[in-house]
């Protein structure tokens, strides 16, 4: 068994939009142990983002769950930045993410495209 980290990106190109993406994991992955969100524009993700995350058809985070609760700053130790999922079985390996940008009127005027990255810490069989 070995730990690997997977990264999946989505692009947010419009304010007040919902972006849905489905990602797939390899069959050799036996469990998902951690989850983390980052962005190339941390401020927008922190202030405007919320998401629904589904793994193997099961809702892990419901709609409206704020992105800032799944982020870790640079002051957090690198090996403690992931949100602990306690060895979640991947099932069919499908990760569905429904990201919602909720920019207010002021932010909409200053909106720039940004990337949201979903990191997963997984255990893979040898």
């Amino acid at each position: 068994m070995q730990a690997i980290r997977k990264r999946f990106d989505i692009e947010i190109t419009a304010p007040n939009s919902i972006v849905t993406e489905t990602f797939e994991l390899e069959k050799t992955i036996v469990s998902i142990v951690g989850l983390l969100l980052t962005s190339d524009n941390d401020g927008l993700l922190y202030n405007n983002g919320s998401q629904r995350i589904e793994i193997n058809g099961e809702e892990i985070f419901p709609e409206g769950y704020e992105s800032k609760l799944l982020m870790s700053g640079v002051n957090v130790q690198p090996n403690k930045r992931f949100y602990d999922l306690e060895s979640l079985p991947p099932g069919n390996g499908r990760i569905k993410m429904e990201y919602t940008d909720t920019s207010g009127a002021i932010v909409t005027a200053a909106f720039v495209n940004y990337r949201v990255s979903l990191y997963l810490e997984c255990i893979m069989e040898d």
Binding site: D42, G43, L44, L45, Y46, N47, N48, E58, E59, F61, P62, E63, G64, Y65, E66, K68, L69, L70, M71, S72, G73, V74, N75, V76, K80, R81, P89, G91, S103, G104, A105, I106, V107, A109, A110
Partner: protein, 212 residues
């Protein structure tokens, strides 16, 4: 298999002193309630609209002030206030930052009070009764406190330098079908412009799942 799930309740607050009652419906399959998380955010978030130049200018002045306090104090109004005024509607959040800068002598060891806006109480219908009371802050103004590594290009913000969020641990039986909640806004009635904001209450509970 035991799983953790979460229920989100959003409260829109628009007046100083507002009292909001709410209910959180707990599913029948809930074994126990294990955690509560609170977060507050401006309804019309201005911090994200704050121009990058203004943030960089503020950070630059902070850095300079750590070395040359007198010159830095003179440099603050011209740069930062002018940019803040460009955002005519951004009075609350931007001016908070600017005020914070003035209050601080712009050293990383200066403390600024974070905007406390109210508190949440939760009551179970079972024996545990009132089992949670927590404060809501809209931001952490001291995220860069004592951090001398902050630069103009990489200023300390909650998004980049914030700690990992953790839920408050509670242990309440899931038999209760409803949690009664009350939110009291604690902003001063006079003086500052009251912020319009949203409070999110996250109730974590345990349940048994048979499907893998």
């Amino acid at each position: 298999m035991i799983r953790e799930k979460v229920i989100i309740t959003k409260l829109a607050i628009s007046q100083a002193g507002q009292i909001q009652h709410f209910q959180v419906k707990i599913p029948h399959d809930a074994l126990r309630i294990i955690g509560i998380e609170l977060s507050g955010c401006y309804a019309n978030n201005i911090s994200a609209a704050q121009p990058v130049q203004a943030v960089a200018a503020v950070a630059a002045v902070k850095m300079q002030a750590a070395v040359q306090p007198v010159q830095a104090a003179a440099a603050v109004p011209a740069i930062a206030v002018a940019q803040a005024r460009q955002l005519k509607v951004a009075s609350v959040r931007v001016m908070t930052s600017i005020d914070a800068l003035f209050r601080q002598t712009a050293t990383p060891m200066s403390y600024t009070a974070s905007p406390f806006v109210g508190n949440v109480r939760l009551q179970s219908c079972e024996n545990t009764n009132v089992f949670f009371s927590g404060d809501v802050y809209l931001s952490d103004e001291n995220v860069g406190y004592g951090d001398y590594s902050v630069t103009a290009q990489f200023p300390a913000t909650a998004a980049t330098h914030g700690c990992k969020n953790e839920a408050y641990l509670v242990n309440t039986p899931g038999k209760t079908t409803i949690l009664k909640g009350i939110y009291r806004d604690r902003q001063p009635a006079a003086g500052q412009v009251p912020a319009t904001y949203t409070v999110n209450v996250y109730v974590w509970y345990e349940t048994i799942i048979t499907k893998l």
